[in-house]
Amino acid sequence: MARPAPGERRRPAVRRSAPILGVLLAIPVLLTACQDKPAALDPHSPEAERVASLIWTFTGLLGLIWLAVAVVSVVAVYRRHEGPRDPLVLAPAGETRRTAVVGVLVAATLLVVLGLTGLSYAAQARLFSAPEEGLVIKITGHQWWWDVQYEGDSPSRVVRTANEIHVPVGRPVLLKLEASDVIHSAWVPSLMGKIDLIPGRQNVKRLVVAKEGTYEGRCAEFCGLQHAHMGMLFVAQAPEAFDRWLVAQRAPAAAPDAPDRRSGHDAFLAKPCVMCHAVRGTPAQGQLGPDLTHLASRRTLGAGTLPMTRGALAAWVSDPHGVKPGVAMPPTPLTGPELDSMVAYLESLL
């Protein structure tokens, strides 16, 4: 087909299908509106609140600019033809007007950019202001779980747990982040932006949680096969509840108090489990895997992979690779009764 003559226009087809297009393009917007409030826009910490309002400001302003550019582009091409048809004959007045308008728009772009940079700096300055003392929690990223340690005044008072981080509401918390293998990144959308955990380095992150609640977080930096199953849970409690929790966590595991738990305990110590896991108060002192002293007090299993239930524990112990392919934990050959008693024992580790 040769180029259509200048007068000829083929718009009817577009006009006919415009309603369909409108509906199709409205679908994502409508669906978006129907969703729950996205976690990043549902802040529960001063930091996340500041960032959420930054997101709204940027989105509002930039969205308007986008709309203006889109509308002007469409208007530009559907305006009545002005001036002579010869491509090299241009009306000088039109060119002057264009120069003025484009000049103003470029200046406006620069102003908007400077303004937004200023807003960003202000938020950044407040986010990373001088360090305050606070509860120190050391988080070490592993493929694919989080080792969590609450520093104490002596080594025996260090509390070690995994994947579930309890914090007191309103009290400043200092997270020290490290990694043992590859780079991970901690992210809790309602509470804080990302901070990488890098082997051989320590990053520090300050955090204050404003409201009680359970907040989902996860690894955000691709870290290998099970990056998808590397969740963490932030549990924000009233300060008194938190202190009670910390005391309970500091205690060694309770001795098994029922026959099946006792045989589970024995099986646990007899099997390779102890090579990697520690249960304080027993000879099991492995350091490669999560500390299991208060395993059953946690809400999830396998870094957020499964809920902490009897069935999930049985599935995890008997066939971890069926649940989370590639996980470091090997399958442990157990007879039916052994499995039952071991699950009973693990369930008692409150």
């Binding site: 930039l62 582009s73 530009a76 305006r79 484009v102 932006g193 990302k194 082997p199 955000a220």
Partner: protein, 656 residues
């Protein structure tokens, strides 16, 4: 093209030079006195290539090489697109078991790697190889054998990657392959090596093409094409080529260091031995951010060409448009750290990169405003290329807006490595590069093939792509804010991410269908399309003066350029220069700034050696994945091939 001497043109130096030589003792036949038909016949014989398979493999014609680049890049587009569809199928529902983590990680790595290294950059260079010589009025690209060589290297690198995928040995560490995950300890086997070596292949090839393009633009422009008469699309390719030359070595260095770490136990990225794993990120993103502009800048050239042709007026703001290209190129090297805000950098350093990242909105804004000002009140015909330009404006500007958002440190920490960023860079790359690319394909297809693409299918193609694209990617912004990280092979059903992922997957089917239509249209039009006149869009740049498709020698007589839209200025016939030889591949070398005719030079013709050298190089590269000694004997192999390539010949080349 008819022969005429522009009344106002000053005496042409080439002609004088030719006359001087003609008076002396020379057998060389020159074009001065030959009638058109005889000239075409002789030039076709000189510039043609031998028939048969060997002749086909020996071709150094930039149009054939460029076309091969296109076709190959499009095949890789289809493959990487299929990988994307597989991911969308897996992610459509929560807890889906269609694809396991091992395969999924390979697939998203293949998708990103192929799209960036084997599709986006090569397809832009394909346009450069094909169009730049035509647009500057040259008979061939500079270093034609080098261009042919780089195509083969690119092809073999891509083949190696996809054969590895078929053998279940594809890389699975993402397209930016962060250490230490990609290092010897956490990625045993050969997967990461294959990724790193694929980088070496494609970078060698990109660098070679960049050199060819730069020299073509600097030294092979037609007489009279001063710097301010260079078409904007050529400026874009020129600036891009410089970015390639400064950015690509960083990633080649990084990937070589990675291979050394893996193969001969150097410790560049091992912090325990004094190395630094973050060094990888700096090197990679020092390349990786300019890479985005390597893909985007040529697309701005396409947009300029299409906008000018459809507005039927010269570009408004030629100088600002060129300066915006140059400014973008410079700024692109000062942004890399905004990919690393979460690594715990000093805040002052990070904030510098906020400013530089936001600042790049200014040259982009200049370009957008100038294009709109060019179109304003010109009532362009809404044919398919123009539709894609409109789609580009709407989508790319939204990507630019989210780009401003991720430049802000606090904001970026919230959306970094989530689907928000996935949405952002697809808006920028598909909106900013693929839409203009498809538009450019519709625009120049008649020049490539001599036929028009179907306008009806073109409209379907555009609207499906536009709607499908927005359905697929708009919802990803929200998914990111909801907390969905990148690169997860599945997600739990209680996350609430299911419905939007389903919408995205449905949209991706539409997007895939639009590409299906594009391929159907391109293939169908090859045989059945309406025959195209030489200048179907009444555009003003030199390539439209040629028959479609252009003959092997491009211009029977070298045009003299008197305006930046020469075909609009010289409506009836172009002034031409005389005096080039017709019985050997003689071209005109001009001066850098003013494009005055400077020298006549004979360029090398068809040769099988670029292919043989590329094969030797590929053997060396692939073997050095497995043994460090391959670098030694492979080097000897490549040296032998190059000896063959550069073996002195007793031809006119030397006598002149």
């Amino acid at each position: 093209m008819s022969e005429a001497v522009h009344p106002g043109a000053s005496p042409v130096p080439v002609e004088r030079a030719a006359a001087r030589e003609a008076s002396g003792e020379t057998r060389t036949q020159r074009d001065t006195d030959l009638p058109d038909a005889e000239l075409d016949r002789r030039l076709a014989r000189t510039w043609g290539r031998p028939a048969g398979l060997v002749g086909w493999l020996s071709s150094v014609d930039h149009k054939e090489v460029g076309w091969r680049y296109f076709v190959t890049a499009m095949v890789f587009l289809a493959l990487a697109g299929s990988a994307a569809m597989a991911m969308r199928a897996q992610l459509a529902r929560p807890d889906a078991g269609l694809i396991g983590p091992d395969l999924y990680n390979q697939i998203f790595t293949m998708h990103g790697t192929t799209m960036m290294f084997l599709f986006a950059v090569p397809v832009m260079q394909a346009f450069g190889v094909y169009l730049v010589p035509l647009m500057v009025g040259a008979r061939c690209i500079a270093f034609p054998r080098l261009a042919a060589f780089s195509f083969w290297v690119y092809l073999f690198g891509g083949l190696m990657l996809w054969i590895a995928f078929l053998l279940n040995a594809a890389p699975d560490v993402g397209w930016f392959a962060y250490t230490p995950l990609s290092g010897p300890q956490f990625s045993p086997g050969k997967r990461s090596d294959i990724w790193a070596q694929m980088i070496t292949f494609t970078e060698v090839s990109s660098l070679a093409v960049a050199v060819s393009v730069i020299v073509t633009v600097f030294k092979h422009r037609a007489p009279g094409m001063t710097l301010d008469r260079i078409p904007l699309a050529v400026w874009a390719m020129l600036v891009t080529s410089f970015v390639v030359i400064f950015a690509m070595p960083a990633v080649m260095l990084a990937s070589t260091m990675l291979i050394l770490d893996r193969l001969v136990s150097t410790q560049f990225f091992n912090h325990e031995a004094g190395g630094d794993q973050l060094l990888w990120q700096h090197l990679f993103w020092f390349f990786g951010h300019p890479e985005v502009y390597i893909i985007f800048l040529p697309a701005t050239g396409f947009v300029s060409s299409i906008v000018v042709a459809f507005a039927q007026r010269p570009a408004f703001g030629y100088l600002p448009l060129v300066l915006a290209l140059v400014a973008t190129a410079f700024l692109s090297f000062g942004l890399w750290v905004h990919h690393m805000f979460a690594t715990g950098l000093p805040q002052l350093g990070a904030s510098f990169f906020t400013a530089s990242s936001m600042l790049i909105a200014v040259p982009s804004g200049i370009q957008i405003f100038c294009w709109i000002a060019t179109l304003w009140g010109r009532r362009p015909a809404m044919a398919t290329p123009m539709l894609f330009v409109m789609g580009f404006l709407v989508i790319f500007v939204m990507g630019g807006m989210t780009g401003v958002m991720v430049a802000s440190v606090p904001l970026d920490l919230q959306v970094h490595d989530t689907y928000f960023v996935v949405a952002h860079f697809h808006y920028v790359l598909i909106g900013g590069a693929v839409f203009p690319l498809l538009g450019a394909f519709y625009f120049w297809y008649p020049k490539f093939t001599g036929r028009m693409m179907s306008e009806r299918l073109g409209r379907w193609n555009f609207w499906l792509a536009f709607v499908g694209f927005n359905l697929t990617f708009f919802v990803m912004h929200v998914l990111g804010l909801m907390g969905m990280p990148r690169r997860v092979y599945t997600y739990p059903s209680d996350s609430g991410w299911g419905p939007l992922n389903m919408v995205s997957s449905i949209g991706s089917v539409m997007l895939a269908a639009s590409f299906g239509l594009f391929f159907v249209n391109a293939l169908w039009s090859l045989r059945r399309g309406v025959r195209a006149p030489s200048n179907p869009w009444n555009a003003g740049t030199l390539e439209w003066a040629l028959p479609s498709p252009p003959p092997a020698y491009n211009f029977a007589r070298i045009p003299i350029v008197t305006h930046h839209e020469p075909l609009w200025k010289e409506r009836e016939s172009l002034p031409v220069a005389h005096g080039l030889a017709v019985d050997e591949r003689e071209i005109l070398v001009s001066t850098l700034v003013e494009a005055r005719p400077d020298l006549r030079e004979v360029v090398p013709g068809s040769s099988i050696w670029p292919l043989i050298s590329a094969i030797a190089l590929s053997i060396a590269f692939v073997a050095s994945i497995f043994s460090p000694y391959a670098a030694l004997w492979g080097g000897a192999l490549v040296g032998a091939a190059l000896l063959g390539w550069f073996w002195p010949k007793s031809s006119h080349e030397d006598e002149e």
